[in-house]
């Protein structure tokens, strides 16, 4: 994929610090993500990559630094924050589909309640999205009746239903059985090629190689490397990245 970045970046983190008690989980992290760019964040567990992802829609507040989205600093709370979140799609490791609602209701809840769309219009678009992720025939089932891969694809459809400006993926395939990883990555790859701005925390190096514009390597809360995937995998500059890659790529 070529560099598609134009104009001002969509997401900008500037000197962001965050502590969990004494633990410095984000250590002076600065990062900007352009419109249409796909940034994959990798690193050993505990490196702060999930936290980084969750700060962008303020599921995790930060202690210092600034985060701007689409030119605006993140609102602290209340209605403005809810509005910002409605523009940033989020996909979780554990899917987090609403357990008491059908798949279609999961997908239409946000559009109906937050965007105030007409239920019939929201349902129509919801079905189209479910069709796009390949589970239109599961629309009336409850989340627990679906496989993990189907649930995660439903969760992606739910986030897309808000027509977000960017999508955050927090280890979207880590809770899946191996044979279901592919179907979720396929959906993500097609999103990426449609020009969606994406920040993806993952351990799927194959996805990072073929779908990412940039790979970010994090360790101990610091952003250690930021490079195009081909360059990063062929020639990691830091000792820690080399060490990490040697551990995961030998198997």
């Amino acid at each position: 994929m070529d560099d598609v970045t134009t104009g001002e970046p969509l997401i900008v983190l500037d000197a962001v610090n965050k502590w969990f008690g004494p633990l410095h989980v984000l250590d002076d992290v600065s990062l900007s993500v352009g419109r249409g760019e796909v940034v994959v964040v990798i690193g050993p567990s505990g490196s702060g990559k999930s936290t980084l992802c969750r700060t962008i829609n303020r599921l995790e507040p930060i202690n210092s630094g600034t985060i701007t989205f689409d030119g605006q600093p993140l609102p602290a709370e209340g209605k403005p924050l809810a509005k910002l979140r409605s523009e940033v799609g989020m996909v979780f490791q554990s899917f987090n589909l609403f357990a008491h609602k059908t798949i279609l209701e999961n997908v239409t809840l946000g559009p109906i309640k937050v965007r105030k769309e007409k239920p019939t219009a929201a349902r129509e678009r919801g079905l189209a999205l479910l069709d796009r992720v390949g589970i239109a025939n599961q629309a009336d089932k409850f989340p627990a009746q679906l496989s993990g891969g189907q649930q995660q694809r439903a969760a992606i459809a739910r986030a897309l239903a808000m027509q977000p400006k960017a999508m955050l993926f927090d280890e979207p395939t880590s809770a899946l059985d191996p044979e279901m990883v592919g179907e979720v990555l396929d959906v993500m790859t097609s999103l990426a090629s449609d020009g969606m701005t994406m920040v993806v925390v993952t351990h799927e190096m194959g996805f990072a190689r073929h779908a990412a514009n940039r790979v970010i390597f994090m360790a101990d809360g610091q952003l250690v490397e930021d490079a195009p995937p081909a360059e990063f995998f062929a020639n990691p500059r830091s000792e820690r990245a080399r060490d990490f890659l040697s551990k995961i790529l030998t198997h």
Partner: protein, 235 residues
């Protein structure tokens, strides 16, 4: 044991009055407890502090003391709790509308005390909903109120209903204190009157009173068991 037959009307009257207190107090405690629970889980720190202090005060104070405050504190402040004389409701529950305020005082004390426990039962249900559910709702842009209404509360209800029932059963038994704070003619005051003023033997009277409370509490307990079994099957 003749007292149970001879004085059946007295027992029945006591039962009816106690049932009225319990119905009104249960409604009041559920409403107030729900409000306090929303305060306790709200994202605004001062509201959270308010909810938490309410629970700390009323969960940790003996009901007798709350009753004393209601029955002696309110009159000292010049209030006869007339705000509880709610039109229409006071004609259904005649004691609410009378000039003697003790029924209202007892009701206030029971509601204030029980609401703290209702709040905690509701909150334990909310805590039983996995945190990811509320997180997913927040990241869609739902506000705190929408999140509660559409995502968290519908799922917490299942986990709340059995502990809530236990709270209400405890409240029915606690209502026995009302007879000692000026409420004439409820089940517990009936015992006092029959044994003290009319000289009946204590044990048969006590059995009659106990039956009265059991008629209210046992069916409620059985209902809770059924709900619990049905939930276990659904899972």
């Amino acid at each position: 044991m003749n007292v149970l037959i001879d004085k059946f009307d007295v027992f029945a009257g006591g039962f009816w009055l106690t049932l009225q207190i319990c119905i009104l107090a249960a409604i009041g405690a559920l409403v107030l407890g729900a409000i306090v629970a929303v305060l306790r889980i709200s994202p605004v720190p001062p509201l959270r502090a308010l909810g938490t202090s309410y629970v700390n005060v009323f969960r940790n104070m003996p009901l007798t003391v709350v009753m004393f405050f209601a029955a002696f504190g309110l009159p000292a402040l010049g209030s006869n709790a007339d705000f509880l004389r709610i039109p229409v409701i006071d004609s259904l529950f005649t004691r609410l509308g009378t000039d003697l305020p003790y029924f209202r005082f007892a009701l206030i004390a029971l509601v204030l005390y029980t609401a703290a426990f209702v709040c905690e039962a509701l909150r334990s249900g909310v805590n039983a909903v996995p945190a990811g559910q509320a997180e997913a709702a927040r990241s869609l842009g739902l506000t705190f109120g929408q999140n509660l209404r559409h995502v968290v509360l519908p799922q917490s209800w299942q986990a709340s209903v059995v502990p809530l029932g236990s709270v209400i059963i405890a409240m029915i038994k606690n209502s026995a204190l009302a007879g000692f704070f000026g409420v004439v003619g409820d089940l517990s005051a009936t015992a006092d009157q029959l044994t003290g003023a009319e000289g009946y033997a204590f044990v048969p009277v006590a059995i009659g009173i106990s039956l009265g409370y059991l008629i209210m509490t046992v069916p409620l307990g059985a209902l809770l068991d059924r709900i619990e079994k049905r939930q276990a099957v659904a899972r």
